[in-house]
């Protein structure tokens, strides 16, 4: 593969996207004025608010690109991009539906059976059905192919699932998991064979969801244990044995969006207010440096959205943007710290102090979730023809 695969064509300007962007801004201003949410950092992990998700569904801002027959709105990826970008920039509570709208829905659309799509997609688009990612296990993080959770067919043709998934964000608020399982034993010669994806209703008997607290004490992570859980035979997603291929396609959606550089934007916004107030030259320069990085990331991310509209799956550029973007998300904190004199504390009377604290305590996650930056750089190196 040549280095050229890293470059994407420029995104065409989309009038429709700019129009919906304004609608979302108006909506968010009204919601803020009504006190329906308060802005926070990293809300696509921690801002769970099913009522808010439902409102977005009502306005047609979930499942935006899906066919109308499945509750979608047949709009472009550029329009969806504008909506997600506005929600993230405002620090709105989008975590409940985020995974379902971003990757589980598209995954179902590509690989689901007619019955699965008809049953589930309209509920996702309505903001009433939430999903989690069941990939990682205690011994399988970066090395996802080494998973051990297994599913075997019983006499009735149902799946019997046993094993444990971990770091499962928001499983305690969600309805379904798409779980990567071994459906035939690991094969030394072909590490990626023998895996499948199952669509698992999280209310089934035998499933235990155990909380794991992150640095700020928040409960977002879970361990999800499957103790011989009987999953109906028709809940296989896609093809038996094609799990690895499907997961790889799913990761392209997982890695390509604006949440890979906007997680800490609410902190930047707070800092912008401060710099405007103080007119301190060092603060203005820092804001300038941050803005230049952010603007470049936006252009990259927009190009990815345009590529999705053309039906491409830009895996390698998505890996690149995620590496550069998540590095930016964490760097924001130190750029701002270096030119302000506000202690980071969740108890701070100063909103900048609180935003700094939220951003810092969530920082380790930015460059790990959805594939670590080391792994992403390996993918980029492959794109450069180096391996």
């Amino acid at each position: 593969m040549s280095g050229a695969s890293l470059t994407l064509d420029p995104a065409p300007r989309s009038e429709a996207a700019e129009a919906v962007r304004l609608e979302v801004r108006e909506f968010l201003a009204a919601e803020l004025a009504a006190g329906s949410f308060s802005p926070h950092v990293d809300t696509w992990l921690s801002g769970v608010d099913p009522a808010f998700s439902h409102k977005l569904g009502e306005r047609g801002w979930l499942g935006m690109t899906w066919p109308k027959e499945y509750g979608g709105h047949e709009r472009t990826a550029m329009e969806r991009y504008a909506v997600t970008e506005e929600l993230l920039a405002a620090g709105a509570p989008v975590a409940a539906h985020w995974i379902a709208d971003r990757q589980s829905g598209p995954n179902l659309l590509r690989y689901g059976t007619e019955a699965q799509r008809a049953e589930i997609l309209p509920k996702i688009a309505a903001g009433e059905c939430f999903f989690v990612i069941g990939m990682s296990e205690p011994d399988s993080g970066s090395d996802l192919a080494s998973i051990r959770t297994k599913a075997t067919r019983d006499a009735n043709g149902d799946w019997v699932v046993s094993g444990a998934k971990v770091w499962t964000s928001n499983a305690h608020h969600s309805h379904y998991a798409i779980v990567l399982v071994r459906t035939s034993p690991a094969d030394r010669d072909s590490r990626h064979a023998g895996m499948s994806q199952l669509l698992i209703d999280l209310s089934l008997p035998g499933i235990a969801i155990n909380p794991i607290r992150i640095l700020d004490g928040g409960h977002h992570f879970n361990e999800v244990v499957f103790d011989d859980v009987i999953v109906p035979g028709d809940m296989l997603l896609g093809e038996e044995g094609a799990g690895w291929h499907q997961v790889t396609a799913e990761l392209a959606f997982e890695r390509s969006g604006p949440e890979r550089f906007l997680s800490t934007y609410p902190l930047v916004a707070e800092f912008g207010r401060r710099a405007a107030d103080t007119q301190d030259p060092a603060q203005l320069a820092a804001l300038g440096r941050l803005s230049a990085r952010l603007l470049a990331l936006r252009q990259l991310s927009l190009r990815i959205a345009a590529a999705l509209d053309r039906g491409e799956l830009p895996n390698i550029p998505a890996a690149l943007v995620k590496d550069v973007g998540t590095t930016f998300e964490a760097d924001v904190i130190d750029e701002i710290r270096r030119v302000t004199d506000v202690p980071a504390s969740l108890d701070s009377p100063d909103p900048l102090g609180r935003a700094l604290a939220e951003a810092q305590l969530h920082a380790p996650g930015y460059t790990l979730r959805g594939g670590t930056n080391e792994i992403l750089r390996g993918i980029v190196a492959r794109g450069l023809g180096l391996r």
Partner: protein
């Protein structure tokens, strides 16, 4: 075995019986560990016996603080042994007992008004370490154009709950004609108190960062992905090496600043440099430590956060990185043309 080795060993033994825990408003410090330190005389190390301490050198006190910091011990020992103790003793202010914690507040906006043999304090001090835990606080307060070091009993003072990123209490103290013992300080003496506080944080940071590196190297040797330990991947080796560079630089500068303090040289710029350098290292070391640990390091169950959360806060306490880097820069060109920057640099430590 040197005296310091003995001190370190004693502290380590105590730490082994007092694991760090997640601090909460209900349980904001490790009182049992403090009691154990009191029983072994370690809360008075480096403070003369005449002043009610247990004697010993600055190096001993630093060894105690370093070891406790590496163990993420939730006790106000750095404040007491490296700042409040020496400052109060030098100012001739008697502390009834070192068995109950004494903390520090640098708050020149608090006014001290002479009242008989003592003072009365009025005003607020924000971000005071160990509010609600310390029984007494050494306040660096203003008094007209002068500065006063005052010793105040915190019992009865309102102390709203607020915490740093590690849950360590960092509250606001409000004084309202609060009676205090006190002594006037020269500007130089006051600067030395501030510098000591910054240096105390630098010492804690150096020790914590060293421990974070050790934990990360250990973890990389144990965690297996793709059939081998993480430590075998070149990308991880580079990250560990980068961390080691940062940690070594911080330790070298902090040690030199402590020695400058021991020689009783002008310590302000040395402390500033040590604090700023340690703070800058936190950025790299904490980030890479978490990166190498993966998701497990992002949890409260795993030990890493006990130190990384402290480091993220300590770097901006006792004067933020911004304040100390400005002071260092300004100090290096103060009253001159900047022509002699090199000469001044070579005199810092």
């Amino acid at each position: 075995m040197s005296d310091q080795d003995l001190v370190v060993e004693t502290v380590r033994d105590l730490l082994a019986a007092h694991e760090p825990f997640v601090l909460t408003p209900e349980r904001p410090w490790d009182e049992a560990l403090w009691q154990a330190l009191v029983e072994t005389g370690l809360t008075g190390v480096g403070i003369s016996e005449e002043a009610g301490g247990s004697g010993g050198e600055l190096a001993d006190a630093v060894a105690v603080v370093r070891t406790l910091a590496a163990g993420a011990a939730a006790v106000p020992v750095a404040e007491q042994l490296l700042v409040a103790g020496p400052a109060l003793t030098a100012a001739g202010l008697a502390v009834p007992s070192w068995d109950v914690p004494v903390t520090v507040a640098v708050a020149p906006s608090v006014t001290a008004t002479a009242d008989g043999a003592g003072y009365r304090l009025t005003g607020t001090a924000a971000g005071v370490a160990w509010t609600g835990v310390a029984a007494q606080v050494a306040v660096l307060a203003g008094s007209g154009d002068d500065l006063v070091l005052a010793l105040v009993d915190t019992a009865g003072l309102p102390a709203p709950v607020a915490a740093n990123l590690a849950g360590e209490p960092r509250g606001t103290l409000t004084f309202d004609a609060t009676p205090a013992a006190g002594a006037a300080l020269t500007a130089e003496q006051a600067d030395a108190v501030r510098a000591r506080y910054a240096l105390a944080r630098a010492v804690q940071l150096a020790a914590a960062l060293e421990q974070v590196l050790a934990w990360t190297v250990q973890y990389a040797g144990e965690r297996v992905q793709f059939g081998r330990p993480l430590a075998k991947f070149q990308a991880i080796q580079m990250e560990l090496a980068e961390m080691a560079g940062e940690v070594t630089a911080v330790t070298a500068l902090t040690d030199a600043a402590v020695q400058a303090l021991d020689r009783d040289e002008g310590v302000v710029l040395a402390a500033a440099a040590a604090k700023v350098r340690a703070g800058a290292a936190v950025e790299v070391v904490a980030r890479l430590a978490h990166q190498v640990h993966g998701a497990i390091g992002f949890t409260q169950e795993y030990r890493l956060h006990h130190l990384t959360r402290r480091c993220w806060s300590w770097r901006d306490e006792a004067g933020s990185e911004l304040v100390w880097s400005r002071l260092l820069g300004a100090g290096l060109v103060a009253g001159g043309s900047g022509e002699d920057l090199w000469i001044r640099l070579t005199r810092v430590v």
